[in-house]
């Protein structure tokens, strides 16, 4: 939380809607551990990361949908799941990412 908290609180303080994506599960070798976070505000500004850069683009897209009021989403990324997501991790790991709107 610490790496994104300053941006999240600053964005919320100026009235932006903010989505937070959190790594909640990892299998095999994953680039970031559970708890790693990326925050996205309604203008598309990004802070932090949930992987080594491989899935951030897809997460930003979902964050935009969440900020439209779609409710929280649980995403799965990994080489074994190419049907659901076109995005994989080059390290061969798998991660689950929970995306929700931040409530101050």
């Amino acid at each position: 939380m610490k790496d994104v908290v300053d941006d999240v609180r600053a964005w919320a303080a100026r009235g932006d809607r903010v989505a937070i994506a959190t790594v909640v599960g990892v299998r095999r070798s994953a680039p970031r551990p559970p708890g790693a976070k990326m925050a996205v505000n309604e203008h598309g500004e990004v802070s932090g990361a949930v992987s080594g850069g491989c899935v951030e683009g897809a997460v930003v897209e979902v964050a935009g949908e969440v900020l439209k009021g779609d409710g929280p989403r649980l995403l799965h990324f990994g080489i074994a799941d190419s049907e659901a997501w076109d995005v994989g991790l080059p390290c061969g790991g798998e991660i689950d990412v929970y995306v929700e709107e931040y409530a101050e």
């Binding site: 939380m1 610490k2 551990p33 708890g35 929700e100």
Partner: protein
Amino acid sequence: MSAQGEFARIASEDGRAALVTAIEGPEPGAKLLVRPDGTTEGGLADAALDVAAVQVADELMWAERSELREVDGASLFIDVTAPAPRLLIFGAVDYADALCRLARVAGWRPFVCDPRSQFATQERFPEAEEVVAAWPEDAVAKLGGIDRATYIAVLTHDPKLDDATLTIALRSEAPYVGAMGSRRAQAKRRERLLAAGLEEELVDRIAAPIGLDLGAVTPEETALSIMGEVVAVRNGREGGRLSYVSGRIHEVGA
């Protein structure tokens, strides 16, 4: 303020807390904030689940690990924020300065305590978060007590001061209490503490001689060996060479 907002506030102030989110459960998305003193904000829409979640949150906020857990049929993500661990160094000796520097580099917060005020100065230990010139009991009180994230290295080289420090440290929740000195010095120390009435299982907690077996000679090498032991203890490891063992290099999520 929401449970999530409170968690963000605590994280921004470098405090300790756990935020439990129901990924699946009676109310998906519901949140419960748990503080170290057991107080909470919010809830998971089920009183019994809240009670179970508080227990898991307390465990993980001190293990300093965020984790997904199945609790009473619910899928809970426990998100943890914690300050950098503290290393309390007793003894304002040369080795303490090297240990402060290495602790800093490793992301720890070193503190130096010694009643000998001519030695216990901030100038001698620029890397220390705080230097406290006081007897162990007062020093510990001034630093807010010893919690489960406080590691202790006793380097005083003075039996009276050593014993006073160890008596407090061994009775505390500190996961690690190391003491500098030879095996002979440790044998004598052990006898003294037992004679003073300290329970044997507490005396057995002392990590002495302090440090990993690096053959360290200089203060810097010795500090490296102590930091190595402290990090290994924190991660539940033995501290051997990775090339000699199999298994995971680090815990997932550590």
